[in-house]
């Protein structure tokens, strides 16, 4: 299992939209390499890609988010489908999809006022405090990428020592597949 994420927020531009693509792929060595190499070779811009196990032992699920125009998206999906290790590709309708990202944020927090402010914000955002050291607080936050961005922007001025994001995970709502 591995995950990677670019820490940029979904940017809306006139002809571009934010898409979530989900792919079922063979669970075997080299598949992630084939997929990411395709993106590099064809110049596709990926915002985040995650891969992990599924309900089926021999399949992994990749979740990819991208800001693309429709034509690029169409090519991205077709080129993904062309890969022999990719069994199924879908573009999810974000309105009918549940999607979440998880982030760990370590902030500098020495003085008591800062500490209590961070703890307060964390509770408003339903984030968990994972670790408190002499000089830092580490928070775990789950939500849509927007929510994580909002929290990050809020605490930025305290000084973010380290930040890690998982990238988006998504499933269709209800009985959708």
């Amino acid at each position: 299992m591995s995950a990677a994420s670019a820490a940029t927020a979904p940017v809306m531009e006139s002809d571009r939209s934010w898409y979530i693509i989900t792919a079922l792929v063979e669970n075997k060595p080299g598949v992630l390499f084939r997929v990411t190499n395709l993106f590099r070779a064809r110049n596709f811009n990926i915002e985040s890609i995650t891969v992990g196990s599924t309900e089926q032992q021999d399949l992994s699920r990749m979740t990819i988010t991208t800001n693309s125009d429709e034509r690029t998206l169409d090519q991205l999906v077709k080129q993904l489908r062309k890969l022999i290790d990719v069994v199924e590709v879908k573009v999810l309708d974000t309105e009918r999809t549940v999607y979440r990202e998880l982030a760990l944020i370590k902030m500098k927090a020495v003085d008591p006022t800062t500490r209590s402010e961070i703890i307060n914000y964390a509770s408003i955002f339903r984030a968990n405090i994972l670790d408190i050291g002499k000089e830092t607080i580490t928070v775990e936050i789950t939500g849509t990428p927007d929510k994580i961005d909002a929290f990050k922007n809020l605490v930025q001025h305290y000084g973010i020592a380290q930040l890690a994001r998982t990238g988006v995970l998504a499933l269709p709502r209800g009985s959708g597949t």
Binding site: V25, F33, K82, V86
Partner: protein, 562 residues
């Protein structure tokens, strides 16, 4: 179930696939495979460089229309294959390349002659396998041929660690396999074919652009049926050259950077284009945005990812083009009887051909590329196989050598690999020993793989190297004359080497000609020869290829002469 080594299983699996010849070169990491070859029912052709092994397998594949096979050892043997594999990938040619690899336990240790060939080859293979146990080999080989040959064909790499070749296992050779994530479309959606028929029937100035896909699927008679039913002029891409007989009353020849002038012209005057097994490459259509403006576009292709990649379309017929064309012709014949051959659009076709035949000036010299190639065509039988090197020779072949029998011409059109033609012609000869095979060559390109002369001579695969020799990297020189103020840089070959002596050194035949008469005689001698023949034809280094559509411009900006 039968017990044997991985290497023996590989050879047996290849025999089961009907492979009769493999091209390769042994080394440390594929010794077990070469040992198993001793007892095999396979013809092994020893190459002098692995790049040539891949090109030979490619040439064999393009003529047999089934996968060609090549062998190489690990490390440099495998990396030497890469140019050939990339060439096959760019032209959708099916090859199965089998490389040796260092033993499993050594992988990742930077061992002697270790290279991550799966990683290196990834962008230029359709798929690759690295069996981790001997027992996997029969299924891996079965899958390799299925993937290489079906759908849009392409190269498959099988990288076998040495200890996996040596290990013994109970082998089961499957007759049927399934690859879960791979199901090539064969029969196209009938509603899209219907849409294509509607568009075609409305069109006043339709044109067919036939690409390499027509040759790959062998849809020659189907293409001819469509063209003749609606009386549509046919241009081809360069890869599609010879998909349609070039002496046919509707043929216009290849379009593109060095396409026929009348073909480039008629394409921009059309109101509807049917692209069949073509991918709208920059070399064929010039500027993407400009091409096809105001035209309805029908795109028929086996690869769904080609639809909309370079050009938006009005009807997308995804499936094997042979089957799609058959359905389209059937549908159209119910709605139309034969069209009038005297309609204004076909008159325009004739007008353009006559105009350019009268306007385009010949290069003033006793021997020119054009005259040589016309002479070659005159003498060669229609069923002879012709391939080319890359550069001016290739573009002259496109312009001045008419393919009469469909599917008898091929070239490295996508990757443009210098050194392709000669080994590929040897591969083609191995596939069809009964017909003459000619490599239309230039000196620069021939230099790159000329050591294959040894293979041609020793393995009794006599081909003709039709060497248009200007002792120049001619195409680069032409661009330097055109775009760099005639400042030559790195293009002159200074009368080196002597090609007649090169031929003789390998036990082949070399003929130097000085006049058109000698050329005619030379071609006739070569056709009767039982060894490879180089015909060394002096070409003026200043002879350019025209017409020319400069890169980044549109077909309408075609330059027809100096």
């Amino acid at each position: 179930m039968v017990e044997m080594t991985g290497a023996k299983a590989l050879i047996h699996a290849l025999e089961k696939e009907g492979v009769d010849v493999v091209f390769g070169l042994p080394g440390g990491a594929n010794l077990p495979i070469y040992d198993a070859l001793v007892d095999a029912n396979l013809r092994h052709i020893l190459v002098r460089h692995e790049q040539s092994a891949a090109h030979m397998a490619d040439g064999y594949a393009r003529i047999k229309r089934k996968a060609g096979v090549c062998f190489a050892t690990s490390g440099p043997g495998a990396t030497n294959l890469i140019t050939g594999i990339a060439t096959a990938y760019a032209d959708s040619s099916p090859i199965v390349a089998v490389t040796g690899q260092v033993p499993l336990a050594m992988i990742g240790k930077d061992a002697f002659q270790e290279t991550d060939i799966i990683g290196v080859a990834n962008p230029c293979t359709k798929y690759s396998f690295q069996p981790r146990s001997a027992g996997e080999i029969p299924e891996v080989i079965k899958k390799s041929f299925y993937i290489a040959e079906s759908g849009r064909p392409g190269p498959v790499l099988v990288d076998i660690p040495k200890d996996v070749q040596q290990a013994t296992a109970e082998m089961k050779f499957p007759d049927l396999i399934k690859v879960r994530g791979y199901s090539p479309v064969i029969d196209a959606d009938l509603s899209e074919i219907g849409k294509a028929a509607d568009i075609l029937l409305k069109a006043e100035r339709p044109i067919i652009m036939a690409g390499g896909g027509v040759i790959l699927s062998g849809a020659f008679s189907e293409l001819q049926a469509l063209a003749e039913l609606l009386m549509i002029p046919v241009v081809t891409t360069f890869k599609g050259k010879g998909a349609f007989p070039e002496n046919h009353q509707l043929a216009m020849g290849p379009i593109g950077m060095h396409g026929h002038a009348e073909a480039n012209k008629i394409v921009i005057e059309a109101d509807c284009i049917v692209a069949i097994g073509a991918r709208f490459s920059d070399r064929s259509v010039g500027k993407f945005d400009e091409f096809g403006k105001g035209m309805s576009v029908i795109h028929m292709d086996v690869d769904p990812a080609e639809i909309g990649k370079n050009k938006s379309v009005d009807a997308a017929v995804v499936g094997d083009v042979k089957s799609s064309l058959r359905s389209l012709v059937k549908m159209l014949s119910k709605r139309i009887t034969k069209r009038d051959p005297d309609n204004p659009w076909l008159k325009r076709r004739k007008e353009l051909i006559t105009y350019y035949a009268e306007t385009l000036k010949d290069y003033p010299r006793e021997i020119t590329a054009k005259k040589s190639l016309k002479k070659l065509r005159e003498i060669l039988p229609a069923q002879a196989i012709v391939t080319t090197e890359v550069g001016q020779c290739q573009m002259w072949a496109s312009l001045h050598f008419d393919v009469i029998s469909p599917g008898t011409f091929f070239s490295s059109t996508g990757l443009g690999t210098m050194g392709f033609g000669f080994p590929a012609s040897i591969g083609a000869k191995a596939a069809r020993p009964d017909v003459p095979v000619v490599d239309i060559a230039g000196d620069g390109s021939f230099n790159m793989t000329e050591n294959s002369l040894a293979v041609s001579v020793l393995d009794n695969l006599p081909v003709i190297v039709f060497l248009m020799n200007n002792y120049m990297l001619g195409m680069v020189a032409q661009w330097q004359r055109t775009f760099y103020d005639r400042r030559y840089s790195g293009v002159e070959q200074h009368n080196c080497p002597d090609y007649v002596k090169i031929a003789e050194a390998y036990g082949a035949q070399g003929i130097r000609v000085q006049s058109m008469q000698e050329l005619e005689k030379g071609i006739k001698i070569a056709l009767k020869s039982d060894v490879a023949t180089i015909i060394d034809i002096p070409i003026d280094p200043n002879e350019d290829v025209y017409p020319f559509v400069a890169p980044g411009t549109g077909l309408k900006d075609m330059i027809t002469g100096a």
